[in-house]
Symmetry: C2
Subunit: 770 residues, 2 copies
């Protein structure tokens, strides 16, 4: 095969009063992987390898080279954002002084442990190298349970900057810094100016957006700098960031509506300064900063409407385990929390989180977090609530090891004097934008008495970089600077890429009584479109594949009758799908399933929202296979009857689970013989807080008659269960439910008639995962 190389030689002349003029630089355009490999092999310091615009499919690039500080070797897109890396692809770097720039990873996944990796194979480590201005979007493994990390840091002095990364739904952190070995610790990596876009809930552990180190390398230092990044909807698990080595810095990051926390997990001596945590009323899972171990300085941070509880609370200072094993919870000691502001958060300060002395009998000794924080200081902080908070400070154990000094609380019309840790007062705060409130000055209560702790002279500036020479309680010391603050989108991600999606009006397909037309319309529709059933009866012979966000609705309760004789689902749910059903009747046979995700390749979650509908006669309403995950599963104002089985989400093990939010409201279940609900989590890992099952205002009649273990609603291992205001009548079971009291399983106002009882076990004996 004849190879054609396009060689562009460009001569630069840089004039500078300090530097010698830059020598010639070779810029080499390559059009395929062979050319690319060839040039990589030949590359000399200063060379620039340019990938031609277009789609590069199945390219597994091992970029090895040795540039120098002033003459790095660069691998870049011809036009940033016009070079698409697709299929089974990755780029791994090894050597010294390399730059990768402008690539867009999409429509595929890495066949390796990672997409971007600062090491090739076992020992060709990269140093002083940088990946910049790249995008990775939905480049997720086909099997959700297969682990990878999209970005693996090894070596020292490497950088990821101005990248956009979103849509990882499989097992494994989005970005991981490895510190196993002297070549990789004290590494001073820079993770700066990136946009970490949405990462969906994973349903289980190992879904952090960033993780630095692990428990086994937690004695090593990182000096990793994570600054000026934007995190949006990073909902993978309870930890957005898991900091597990020492001396790392998190500064000037914005966490926007992310259902997790910045967690100082195993690392010590972390700097957490001038970060912004933006929550809202739409979720109780947005988190703040969770603290374990020693010597952290948490200063100048701003929290708005963070309402997460306990592990996800705005400031969660944990209890430790005495003489903790390496992978559990070191006692909190010697931390400083100063000059932070919480606005409209719920119970923002929680001290001794994770205290579990009551579990002494069901957990081993080395799981009991009985050591409260000590030798710590919380000073000069501000809590401001437009509506009063009943408990702005939650004491889970003993807070006497913490010195509280000059913390001001404006709790609206209700002072909070319990524990004596606040100065209650009225503060004038002015709204600057949707989430930012700043105090106006002068306000003597904020400036007249400021506690000066050990080494507080090191806190020189406030949240927005204003000098603290004119000092104030809270993260903002100067109103004028705060008033001028806007989130600068140019700071985050590549300049050529925008994460904003255009919104178009949905198209409405009017579908007459013809099963094939229904199937065809669904296939033709774009995500967001609506299928409106205009007739009464639709006979369907084969499964309908749902691959996008589709609404099927009718005005007159149209019936969809499923005739396929096989054990097959009426609706086959694909990754990223969302099926909305409104006012329809689904009728099936007792070997069929109403809904079922794919058996394999469920790379991302599916969602189902059923309202005002009837489902009858099926073998299963839903049966989740292993590896599938539904983020939202919702039944409202609907009737489910005459089915062998109900909703079965019980195929996982080892801490994973099949669904996050399962909601049943105003429904009636009648004559469902088994598994009315079977929502199961095998194995316990507290780093995830799910799933969530809510059953309200619903009725269950004549259900569970073949239930072998005698439990109607099976919820084993699920963390949040709420059974409220339901009626259970004539269900021949021993237990309507067996709840886990210690893990937010609650029941109230239920009526039980001839239906067994609801039992609460405060502590359940757990299979521990680590």
């Amino acid at each position: 095969m004849k190879k054609t190389f396009y060689l562009l030689t460009v001569t630069f002349l840089l004039l500078s009063c300090n530097l010698a003029s830059k020598p010639e630089q070779n810029s080499l355009l390559v059009r395929n992987i062979d050319e690319l490999n060839n040039f990589i092999n030949k590359a000399a310091p200063g060379d620039v390898i340019v990938l031609a615009n277009g789609i590069w499919k199945d390219v597994q690039i091992e970029f090895y080279g040795n540039g120098s500080k002033n003459k790095p070797i660069t691998l870049k897109a011809e036009t940033p954002g016009k070079v698409f890396i697709e299929g089974t692809s990755f780029i791994h770097l090894g050597g010294n002084h390399l730059i990768v720039e402008g690539l867009y990873f999409r429509n595929g996944y890495s066949p390796s442990t990672s997409i971007i990796r600062f090491k090739i194979g076992d020992n060709k480590t990269a140093f002083n190298s940088r990946v910049t201005s790249c995008v990775i979007k939905n480049f997720t493994k086909p099997n959700r349970l297969t682990n990878d990390k999209w970005i693996e840091f090894y070596g020292k002095h490497n950088t990821l900057n101005h990248c956009y990364i979103s849509g990882k739904s499989n097992d494994g952190e989005t970005l991981r810094v490895f510190q196993d070995g002297n070549e990789h610790s004290s590494n001073h990596h820079q993770i700066v100016n990136n946009y970490f876009g949405p990462r969906p809930r994973k349903g289980g552990p190992r879904a952090e957006t960033i993780r630095i180190g692990d428990s086994k390398t937690s004695m090593s230092s990182g000096f990793v700098n994570v600054s000026n990044n934007y995190f949006e909807a990073c909902n993978g698990e309870v930890e957005i960031i898991s900091d597990k080595t020492n001396y790392n810095t998190f500064k000037n990051n914005i966490f926007y509506k992310s259902e997790g926390s910045l967690v100082l997990r195993h690392g010590s001596f972390t700097t957490v300064d001038s970060n912004i945590f933006i929550g809202g009323d739409d979720s109780n899972f947005y988190g703040g900063i969770r603290v374990v171990s020693s010597g952290h300085w948490i200063t100048n941070n701003y929290f708005y409407k963070i309402k997460g509880e306990e592990f996800r609370s705005p400031l969660a200072i944990m209890n430790g385990i005495p003489m903790s094993p390496l992978n559990r919870y070191k006692q909190v000691t010697d931390i400083v929390v100063a000059y932070n502001t919480w606005v409209d958060c719920k119970s923002p300060w929680q001290i001794g989180v994770g205290q579990n002395i009551k579990s002494m009998n069901v957990l081993p000794k080395y799981e009991i977090r009985s050591a409260p924080p000590i030798r710590s200081l919380i000073a000069n902080n501000l809590i401001f609530n437009h509506e009063s908070d009943d408990e702005p400070f939650v004491n889970h154990d003993n807070f006497e090891g913490i010195l509280f000094k000059n913390n001001v609380l404006d709790n609206s019309d209700k002072t909070f004097t319990k524990y004596g840790v606040f100065e209650n007062n009225t503060i004038k705060m002015k709204q600057i934008n949707g989430w930012l409130y700043a105090p106006e000055f002068p306000q003597p209560i904020l400036t007249k008495s400021i506690y000066f702790g050990y080494e507080f002279d090191k806190i020189k500036t406030d949240l927005f970089g204003t000098s603290r020479s004119q000092n104030s309680i809270g993260s903002i010391s100067n109103f004028d600077t705060a008033e001028k603050f806007v989130i600068n989108n140019n700071l985050y991600g590549p300049d050529w890429f925008s994460s904003e999606q255009r919104t178009t009006s949905p198209k409405i397909f009017k579908t007459s009584a013809n099963g094939n037309e229904l199937i065809q319309n669904i296939a033709e529709a774009n995500s967001g479109d609506i299928i409106e059933l205009t007739d009464n009866l639709y006979a369907i012979d084969n499964s309908i594949a749902i691959k996008k966000d589709i609404t099927i609705r009718s005005k007159n309760n149209a019936q969809i009758i499923f005739n396929n004789p096989q054990e097959t689902p009426l609706f086959e749910m694909h990754p990223y799908s969302f099926l909305h059903l409104d006012s329809v009747i689904l009728k099936g046979k007792n070997n069929q399933l109403a809904f079922k995700p794919l058996d394999k390749k469920m790379s991302a979650a599916y969602n189902i929202d059923v309202k005002n509908s009837t489902i009858e006669g099926f073998g299963y309403i839903l049966k989740a296979p292993k590896g599938s995950f539904t983020d939202i599963l919702k039944f409202e104002n609907s009737l489910i009857k005459q089915c062998n089985n109900g909703i079965v989400l019980a195929a996982e093990e080892k801490g994973d689970y099949n669904a996050e939010m399962v909601t049943i409201t105003n429904c009636k279940f009648e004559s469902v013989s088994n598994n009315v609900v079977n929502f199961f989590r095998g194995g316990y890992d507290e780093s995830t807080i799910g799933g969530i099952l809510s059953i309200n205002n619903s009725t269950f009649i004549n259900c569970g008659k073949f239930e072998e273990n005698g439990v109607l609603l099976k919820t084993k291992g699920i963390i949040n269960v709420d059974l409220t205001n339901n009626t259970f009548q004539n269900n021949p079971v021993k237990y309507v439910a067996v709840l886990w009291g210690a893990k937010n399983n609650i029941h109230k106002e239920n009526i039980l008639i001839n239906s067994g009882e609801i039992k609460v076990e405060e502590q359940q004996k757990l299979e521990i995962l680590y």
Copy 2:
């Protein structure tokens, strides 16, 4: 009381091209504690407070002040070494930029937790302060079991230099660095140019000479510098130095005949460079470097005749506990051992020390050291033996996690090829002094192939500071520099103090047959003198106090008959005493004791050496009270008969014990009814390796007839027991001994006639102490 202050104003004019001339300095002579306190209260930067020559008794000095970098506040002796601090005294420092100089602590002890302390009370911490040119000698607590530390470091940037410290025999480290709290961690303390003189064996844990931090602060950094110190006979326990925090440095220290190791215990990333370990043939307890945890660099060290085993071996790299609790054993990872030299050591390299998988059934999971070292490198080292060593490398578990490169072994006439970790070769080494051997150059085997590991460019010099530009395997790369090396006594301790003791010839007292004269001569004798019994019979009515090193001998087996009717000892042993008996007969009654230390105030050890003698008729030969300790207890060629009890050393608990070296050789025990030997250690802490009981070539006849638990020689909890070549005849017991197989308890060639058996329990169930 009228106070007279002596004010000497001295004007200095310092000429310097960079600094402004120094202002006036006040030098204030004080004569008593009131004057001293008064001046301390008034002291201004630059002031010098001078303690008048003489004895300062019961002075508890709290030296608080705030000097500045260029104008410290100094508290010094009028003449260094002529100011004696005695009685119940201490000096504690608080504030900034203080200097203490030239004090001599003796004849007393601190009533506090410490003698020198860089903190006053709870929170007046000292920073940037220095204690220099002081001596602390035998300033030890009256009760050996009462804990103190002689020197307590708090704060940051404090220094102890040119001090001499010896004779601590009570519980507690000689010097401890505390890192509990941000004021005290990352402290950069300097412990340099000190002379750590003899510290006797303590018989239990907590007798390190230096300890930095503890397990609970082991995540914090120290940056403590321990350099250019001399350690002589620091025998307190198995750890001379216990390094428990991160980033500390041990450089250019000399460890001379010290029965312990430099132990990298909980800390990580320690630098151990260019230290010299000098042992000898006279002890098998001299140790080297023991390694736990991560990231240590052990380079350029020199070891001569270090023959300690396992925990004390010249290089002991330990096995860790998987996910170790904070206070146990982290796995060894990422260490580098390069360019070191071992000359005439015994089994110098031991990998996986402490592996105790066999104890799985008697110890909890978190005690099992099953994790071998990983990701480590041992390169460019030299082992040289004048006589071949059967096992220069001992593999306790699995050494595959270590990369061995270019290590050269000259094992005399015997190559060692097992494991393949050495290049066997003949090296030319030339003796420079009693302990130093250096290779002559050129020797291609040492210079032609040197492994260049990651960051080896940082190892710029060799043991004696010669540049490694002309590089070589081993710690010495240049013969000429090595040849010129002498230990420079001026480097260590105060210039006004010498630790060398003059030796005088002993005086011999000829003592005729008069008990009172015997007592009087003993009282008059100086330490080292000899009492010679010239007649046959000495009747003694009262206990004889032994307060020094005394020999009592006779040529014709003189009898000493003890007539006191009370339950009292013939010889009352005091601290620091050593009683030698040669060819005497001691006769007592069955409520008396032949030997007994004081019940209280046994601040230091006593020693007894009995040979060619007979002891008969006593209630006890020896009964050790709690708090007493005998370092050497020796019976040789002697007969012990007709006693109710033999040697009882069983009053301690919690890991302490009453004796270190107990030796019985060529003796006969006849009709000793109970406790022929009862040597007990309650509770197990592996950080000490004792006691040591050796019974050889001896005979036991008709003993143990009232032994309640049926064991003749009780050795419960004792680590080293050797029963060899003894005869046991007609002793009505079930067991002659019950030995602890796993802990170096051995028996061989014993004859047992009508005397029960010797049982070996490989594992004993232990009470763990921590």
